[in-house]
Symmetry: C2
Subunit: 228 residues, 2 copies
DNA sequence: AAGGGTATTATGTGCAGACATAATAACACA
DNA sequence: TGTGTTATTATGTCTGCACATAATACCCTT
């Protein structure tokens, strides 16, 4: 019995993989497929919509639906809290606030946050631990102008979790890169200077203003993995 | 006028961000929301379903819909062909096949591909160029047992593009990490040994068998970026 | 009081029909 | 021949209804 939208999605995917519908091919329209599968057009629509979302199909009104020529692989990554990530490994999470001060940020930081030169920000350095071993070295710029007052003791609650609980849902962007460990990172993480570190950088915004820019330097061996 | 499912999604998201519906809160059921917004329940369902997919809501039958307590950030990355990536920067893409041979892979490679020890694979080393400058150093293991014959001249067409055109749609996983440049990578990319390189590793499968394992070492400065 | 079966309830999905929208194809006119 | 308008068409979405499914709440029995 082929009638649920998941069955239809599977069948369409099968035909694409089996090259019955090769890349670039125009596939039958929704009405015809609905007729063939003996279901409503809405059901076919649901199935094709999901496949288009996954990058397998390309759809345009009037033009029809065709098999994607160059299926852009879309990788979806979960970005959990560091605490969740550590605990998911069965380790215990802890952290140390190494440094906190209020200062004028360097120009690249101010510009990435879209702030006027001279605005003062809070700067934090935190070391996250997994079973007591250095796990992530976090450097964070916070914009106090858009934070609810009073600020907590960041030695007691990690900035990330406090923000989650006290600042409205936000948007932002994430970037990954690789960098050599600088002296400060090497010391904090307990590794040699120059080791390759996996770096995650996140910028977070409310509707209008930048909230925080955080840079996570993961200790060597860290991997981010996805199932496609 | 609030009636399209996108309007409803936006309004629900607004209420969550404005903390009218705080994290952990149980929100009204679909029927009530449909009544409030003056639309059909299916429309509300579509909006809430999308938000649940994005990790903002958690839904369970009978239990209802609640605002996610710890919204796991989901980052979606596009993984284009290297050629597309280079050309998107306005540079010209080229590549050199540095090495091709058939050999028994090291044990970690064989096990990651789920192959019996002793199976022979094709090993390729390719250097991708952007405007003539080293861009990515690619090492690839190919499983000839599941490839259509005859194999092409990989000096003429890049393995990735040939696979796309000749092997059925596949699944796989992707991992990112940071590693120090080894002697081979340093020479190929023209950088000092020990420099931090951004590494992408992909394993690709057909329905049953492993097709290829590829490791891309990106030259220093490479970033992967996402909008959330 | 404990346990198990049943009713209730919220979401998940399906269907048939309708209109909206975008994009192409066809046509008419200068 | 070129151009602007109109018709056609496939997808996008909404409605109202129905039944399926999962999970909780309740009640009855022992």
């Amino acid at each position: 019995m082929i009638n649920s939208w998941e069955d239809i999605r599977a069948e369409v995917l099968r035909r694409i993989r089996a090259r019955e519908w090769p890349p670039g091919d125009l596939i039958p329209n929704e009405e015809d497929l609905a007729l063939e599968f003996g279901c409503a057009r809405a059901t076919v629509n649901r199935a094709l919509r999901e496949l288009a979302l996954a990058g397998v199909l390309e759809r345009r009104r009037k033009a029809g639906t065709r098999v994607a020529m160059l299926p852009v692989r879309k990788a979806t990554l979960d970005i959990p809290l560091i605490r969740q990530e550590v605990e998911a490994r069965g380790q215990s999470h802890g952290f140390q606030l190494l440094l906190q001060r209020e200062t004028v940020p360097p120009v690249p930081v101010a510009s990435r946050l879209g702030l006027a030169a001279g605005a003062r920000l809070i700067y934090l350095e935190t070391l996250h631990l997994a079973d007591g071993q250095p796990f992530v070295f976090e450097t964070r710029w916070l914009n106090p102008a858009v934070l609810p007052q009073p600020l907590p003791d960041f030695g007691q609650i990690s900035a990330n979790e406090w923000l989650l609980a006290h600042v409205s849902y936000t948007t932002g962007d994430i970037a990954f890169s690789a960098e050599e460990a600088g002296p400060r990172e090497a010391e904090a993480l307990g590794v040699a200077e120059g080791r390759a570190l996996f770096i995650t950088e996140r910028t977070t915004w409310t509707a209008e203003a930048a909230i925080t820019l955080v840079r996570l330097a993961h200790s060597p061996g860290y991997r981010v993995q996805t199932m496609v």
